[in-house]
């Protein structure tokens, strides 16, 4: 059973279709990337999951049950544009949010203490938000999102505006939550994070899912059968090799071969070895998610 299942969900606003028959599923213990250009429908989808909006048709299931108000406490959401009460103290603010999630005072205090210590902001608990640096504020925002131990964590561009040091701290926290079994959905258009963090992706464009699956599988699926080989320049390739293979790029000692039909990387290796070429390295070139993203979005919009 999936943790969260979105079944044939459609949602339109006055003059715009935001989601069109979207179906997707999120399983426990996994990190998902929800990718798409601006205005693709990512935020609308998330707002359906967080029950800010309700779908025009289709349904959402959480643990097999129809998504309802009682599931709100199992979901944590950090919007892209962060917001906290500027004049409120860190501790008061966190306490307010735990109250809205119906925590007892004792539980709330325990959790607040735990997270403030963990992110090393304990000494700031009596400062107002406007006294904190931007990085500090974002840490507090993160605590607000995870304070209630959500089963599903939705992070909209969690690293935007963070310096590398704080970004790393947050990243480690995310991995730790993942280890503990939290399902994480990243909504982003920053591809470098996706490859590093996500296991599965959904690519959404113009209200439809245009690509989905495991990150590695998708890369395999879109690979252009290119092999990068580095050779010792003292043993240059000869014409015999050129006739047997297709070289698409040649720069000093680096060669890029395109595999012909039914040709395997090993075949290239064999040919090179036959001609006594000294090989220092060989790798298969896989497309980056960034490239796939751009290619897919452009293809679909044409």
């Amino acid at each position: 059973m999936h943790l969260l299942e979105v079944k044939n969900v459609s949602k339109s606003f006055q003059n715009k279709v935001a989601l069109q028959d979207v179906s997707l599923a999120f399983d426990a213990h996994k990190i998902y990337g929800l990718l798409g250009p601006n205005g693709a429908g990512k935020t609308t989808l998330i707002r359906n999951i967080t029950q800010i909006f309700f779908p025009d048709s289709g349904q959402l299931l959480f643990n097999g049950e129809k998504l309802a108000e009682k599931h709100q406490n199992l979901i944590g959401y950090m919007p892209e544009e962060r917001g906290l009460y500027k004049k409120m103290k860190v501790e008061e603010q966190l306490y307010y949010f735990t109250q809205l999630r119906n925590f007892s005072k004792k539980e709330a205090t325990q959790k607040i203490d735990y997270w403030l210590n963990k992110l090393d902001i304990d000494s700031w608990r009596n400062k107002t938000i406007e006294e904190l640096s931007k990085g500090m504020q974002q840490k507090v925002q993160f605590v607000v999102t995870v304070l209630h131990d959500p089963k599903l964590l939705i992070l909209d561009e969690p690293f935007s505006g963070l310096d590398p040091l704080n970004a790393e701290i947050i990243k480690q926290e995310i991995f730790e939550l993942h280890q503990k079994g939290t399902t994480i959905i990243f909504s982003t258009h920053r591809m470098e994070n996706v490859e590093e963090i996500c296991e599965e992706i959904y690519l959404i464009n113009e209200g439809k899912i245009i690509l989905e699956g495991n990150v590695q599988n998708i890369k395999q699926q879109f690979k252009k059968h290119l092999i990068r080989v580095t050779i010792n320049p003292e043993t240059p390739i000869n014409d015999a090799i050129r006739t047997q293979t297709e070289i698409v790029e040649e720069k000093n000692e680096v060669l890029i071969f395109k595999l012909k039909e039914n040709q395997l990387p090993n075949d290239i290796l064999k040919i090179l070895l036959q001609h006594q070429i000294e090989i220092t390295s060989m790798t298969e070139i896989l497309p980056s998610i960034h490239e796939i993203f751009i290619q897919q979005v452009q293809e679909k919009s044409q």
Binding site: R47, I52, N73, I75, Y77, M78, G83, K86, L100
Partner: protein, 435 residues
Amino acid sequence: MKKTWYIIKREYLTRVKKKSFLVLTFLIPILFGLVIIGTVAIATSAQEKIKIAVKDDSGLFEDKFRGMDVGESLRFVYLTGNQQPIDSLKHIYQNINCDGILYIPKINLEQPLGIAYYSENELGITTKEHIINNLSDEIRNRALSERHYNIDTIEYFDKKISVEQIIDNKKKKGSSEVAGMFGYACGMLIYIFLIVYGAMVMRSVTEEKTNRIVEVLVTTVKPFQLMLGKIIGIGAVGLTQFLCWGILTVLINMLLPVFMGDKLMAMQAMQQSSQMASSSESTQMLMNISNAFHDLNIPRMLLSFLFYFVFGYLFYASQFAAIGAAVTDDSDMQTFTFPITIPIIISMILMSATLAQPFSNAAFWGSVLPFSSPIIMITRIPFQVAWWEQLLSMFILVVCSLGMVYVAARIYRIGILIQGKKVTFKEIGKWIFVK
């Protein structure tokens, strides 16, 4: 419900704990009290303690000057039998411990000229008036009796005419001016409250929207709870402020006589004596005021005030909340608040018309329609509005304010999530019907 309560609590506490709130709530009544103390202090200290010698060559005013005895502030010493001419007396009045000398020559009652006061210091206004009143009364009486008019008869006819109003077989003692003043004050308070606290609700909604905290909040609470919590929380701040002002004003009024009782007494006595001497007009007015308060149904007035205060606020604050949610930038805010402030301003204009004619058609409709009833009805109640009219107005206001909360909530729930887009009235209208 519990969540709404937490929101109310936060909205209330963050505002009540603010320095500006404390300053406004406690400083204003204290300042008010200080102004009263200051006036009393100045008025009493300015009151002269003087002794005036009277040299009466006409012999008409023997023992006719009434002293203002309280605090021995004004005393007269008659120099009867002293044959010295005024030219020498005017230099030696200090020898008999007097502050000045009042000289009345042998005067012609037709043309009483030549009365003079010699002193080093000028007389205060009250004292001067007191003396002039005494002189003119006496001269008038003498002139009349010389022509053989009966003074008693003349005084008998010299009566102020008043028209007593009998409404519903009950004698109404107070004047309608006083009822009007009271109604005006209450209407004005509600007007200020609607404008100030309505704007506060709007600003607070816009603030949450622009700093995006609302996106986090709506994942845990319903937009309706959020809006209601805000409206109630801020309204409670307003009620607290009015309550504090009320209590402090009463306290200060009670404490004032303790600290400066003698001075207040002196001032009252001074006012009374000068009023008795001049005319009974102001005493009549004072009587009117106390009678009017007697006439006013105070519990009805207070409960009605509370009612119109609460529901009028609900009616307008929800509109302000909806506008706050719909707009993002300040220039838009002004365009959108204009249409909702207009009825409030019209109510203010209608209020003057109501005071002049509390039972006119305009006043009736103004006090029944929800846009103006919180201000107009409270202005009319001191004029003994019929119960059915008030109940009708209350019923309409309750229904309309609840309806307005519902409509506002529908606009609010969509508005708060819309960013960076200019909205039109047409669009906002559509939001009401969006599922």
